[in-house]
Amino acid sequence: MRNAQQLILAYADAPWRKQLQFIGLFSLALVMLALLASLYLIVSAQATTYGREIQNMQYTIKDLQRQNADLQAMLAHVSSADVMEQRAEELGLQPAQPEQIVYLAVEGYSGRQPPNLAPPAQPAPLPAPSYSPEFSQSLIDWFIEQAGVVDLNALLSEVTRR
């Protein structure tokens, strides 16, 4: 027992041990801080990259919508009544005359029907991803919630009982 006390005193009296202890703790804190900072930087960088990608995609969508409108207008122009008539004439076609037309009765045919021009139904949107609160809740939020749930409820039930 005495030997042990002497050993502790000797350890405590050695200044280099104290320094080593201090340096060790400081280095540990520094490493922890660096780890946290790195983690934060990595998460932030990823979020920024994905955010920028989303922005670029939104600009691309706008561009594609414009291109779509352009192509639609171009198609309408090259198939316009005047152009089609000109092309038909170049191919040697002529407007049909009444005496050239033969009508056939087709069972169940009710004539040409106007099309439905509404865009095709979109697939149902994917359900929004749901995360449990642990992924988005801060420690303080969690404390507040826990305190609110436990204490307030208990307190309220106690008050109402009395």
Partner: protein
């Protein structure tokens, strides 16, 4: 305390002191007098508010052919703080986009103000011009050009600061096809005339105020651009094109000053074609004032009321039949003159046609007979019928700029008994072709008058909403409508009218109306009209022709009736309507 410990304490105190200084400075910056301006400045980096003009909805014909769409054009602007050489910018735009050099130079030379760092130089520039401009910019950036001035301090040629932004603008792939129906859109995005004006709010959509975040963390809140509703018209592009061509030829061959043809489906009120002159290329809407000088209406079918003349007699006779005042076999002795309200009504040839029945009255278009029929009906009943036919009020057609015409009524300050006589054959009363079509649709549709319309469906938020045809009233009975149709069909057949359509039984009536001037009916100019529908057993089309001031002949029977036949012959092919014998054989089988 030894030396190393002192150094350690000194270092610690230094670090703490430095940290306190930084903390104090942070608190001072965030709460000092400069805090507010800095916060405002930071908000501009976070994002920017913007008004999004929705993409204007498209317009299609009944078969899905695009009549009005959108195409990319460009806005050219300058970021003033980045401009290095305004002269190069002005020169480039004057050469490649036709802009005014002085004007561009003045704008691009401005010093940027705190609240104005961007200036628009030109808008609605075509992609072709932008391609040329961008090629020039690449050459300038590559140093292909040097300054012509000998001043060593002069800035080298540069298009720095030039910003080219794409956006959508209205385009009409069919140019002038159905231009009187469609109307056009100004550069401010407002619709003028036709469907573009009538449905402007629907097509344009609602402007959305949004905040665009620069912060990538906030991108999820970026809104998707809204889109205006699209319209599907009742117009058949092929029918419209054919009718326009026929109208052009008719105006040319008859020497008319203008013309209008309206084709509707009498059972639904759908307007299948509407041609009117003049027409304009809608892609060059800035030529509007040249194409439509003075008070020229954009669409005569809805905006110009005129005295229709003898086509109006079908309404008078229908009122006579329906009220029981006359019957098809009622006899009338035409002495060539009929006195009413102190004036003498005479026939178109000033002659007396002797004993006639009602078929003869319509076949020979006898003013005297129709004035007598109107007097038999009585003023009160006659005008009640005319009001039931919708005369003197708007038809409700969904095309902008409709005018109601004028139907004087007993009790009005300017109505005299003589008006009953003249109104009976379509003089002294004014109506638009669309009003006449609407009224006469009752005769072609078993007494039911339909509301004419040009929009068949609205496409909004991915759904198509079809418009239900509306019955505007039932001014006459089914029996009267069928009797009138039969009478007018026989009338055309007995006349061997040039309006007849081989293979199809049609009903119709010509009209020739003198054009009033301030001095009375003295000009000698006429309005030639024809209204007809068919096939009479199941009417699929109702056609109204109006040629203004024809010079080759003043008579509707000469200039307008053949046009009806030509239009009907094209229609039966384009609408796949088999001849009467084929349809009858098919029905009997």
């Amino acid at each position: 305390m030894n030396g190393s410990s002192r150094r350690l304490y000194f270092m610690s105190i230094s670090f703490v002191f430095a940290a306190l200084i930084i903390l104090g400075r942070i608190i001072f910056i965030q709460n000092g007098p400069q805090a507010e301006p800095l916060k405002e400045q930071s908000s501009t980096y976070r994002g920017f508010p913007q008004e999004i003009q929705p993409t204007r909805g498209e317009i299609y014909d009944r078969w899905g052919n695009l009549l009005a769409g959108n195409t990319t054009v460009y806005e050219i602007g300058v970021e003033l703080q980045h401009v290095k050489n305004p002269e190069t910018i002005a020169l480039a735009l004057s050469v490649y986009t036709g802009a005014d050099f002085g004007e561009i130079y003045q704008i691009a030379s401005q010093e940027p103000a705190p609240d104005a760092v961007y200036a628009v130089l030109q808008d609605f520039v075509s992609p072709e011009k932008i391609t040329q401009l961008e090629e020039f910019k690449q050459q300038v950036d590559a140093g292909a050009y040097v300054s012509a001035t000998k001043d060593e301090n002069a800035a080298p040629p540069s298009l720095d600061g030039l910003v080219i932004t794409p956006h959508l603008a209205r385009t009409y792939p069919e140019d002038d096809l159905a231009s009187n129906i469609l109307g056009f859109v100004s550069r401010e995005g407002k619709g003028y005339f036709g469907v573009e004006e009538k449905y402007n709010d629907l097509l344009a959509g609602r402007i959305k105020k949004v905040y665009y975040a620069n912060n990538p963390y906030e991108v999820s809140s970026m809104p998707s651009p809204p889109v205006g509703a699209s319209l599907v018209l009742t117009i058949d592009r092929e029918v419209q094109d054919s009718v326009q061509q026929i109208l052009e030829r008719a105006i040319e061959t008859s020497g008319s000053t203008s013309g209008t043809i309206v084709v509707i489906h009498p059972q639904t009120g759908e307007i299948l074609a509407l041609a009117s002159t003049p027409r304009m290329n809608l892609n060059e809407f800035w030529s509007y004032s040249e194409v439509f000088p003075g008070s020229t209406p954009f669409n005569r079918a809805v905006s110009q009321a005129y005295e229709p003349g003898s086509v109006f007699k079908v309404l008078t006779m229908a009122a006579g039949f329906d009220s029981g005042a006359v019957k098809p076999n009622t006899s009338f002795l035409d002495t060539g003159v009929f006195q009413i309200g102190g004036i003498y009504i005479q026939n178109w040839n000033m002659g007396a046609w002797g004993p006639q029945d009602m078929l003869g009255c319509m076949q020979h278009s006898l003013n005297v007979c129709l004035a007598w029929v109107a007097s038999e009906i009585g003023a009160k009943t006659f005008y009640e019928y005319m009001q039931d036919f919708g005369l003197g009020r708007l038809t409700g057609v969904d095309i902008a700029g409709e005018t109601p015409g004028r139907l004087k009524l007993p009790g009005d300050g300017d109505w005299y008994e003589a008006d009953l006589g003249t109104n009976s054959f379509g003089q002294g009363v004014s109506a638009t072709p669309m009003q006449m079509v609407t009224a006469i649709s009752a005769l072609a549709n078993d007494g039911k008058m339909v509301t004419p319309h040009v929009v068949r469906a609205v496409i909004d938020q991915g759904h198509q909403y079809d418009i239900t045809p509306q019955i505007a009233g039932m001014p006459i009975s089914k029996e009267t409508a069928r009797a009138m149709t039969n009478l007018l069909a026989i009338s055309l057949e007995k006349e061997s009218s040039s309006a007849l359509v081989p293979g199809y039984r049609v009903a119709g009536k010509t009209g020739t109306a003198e054009i009033p001037s301030p001095a009375g009916y003295t000009s000698g100019a006429t309005n030639a009209s024809f209204v007809g529908w068919g096939p009479v057993d199941d009417p699929q089309f109702l056609i109204y022709i109006w040629l203004e001031k024809p010079t080759t002949s003043p008579w509707g029977s000469v200039v307008a009736a053949p046009v009806f036949s030509e239009v009907a012959q094209r229609l039966v092919i384009l609408m796949d309507i088999p001849p009467d014998d084929v349809r009858t054989a098919q029905t009997s089988n």
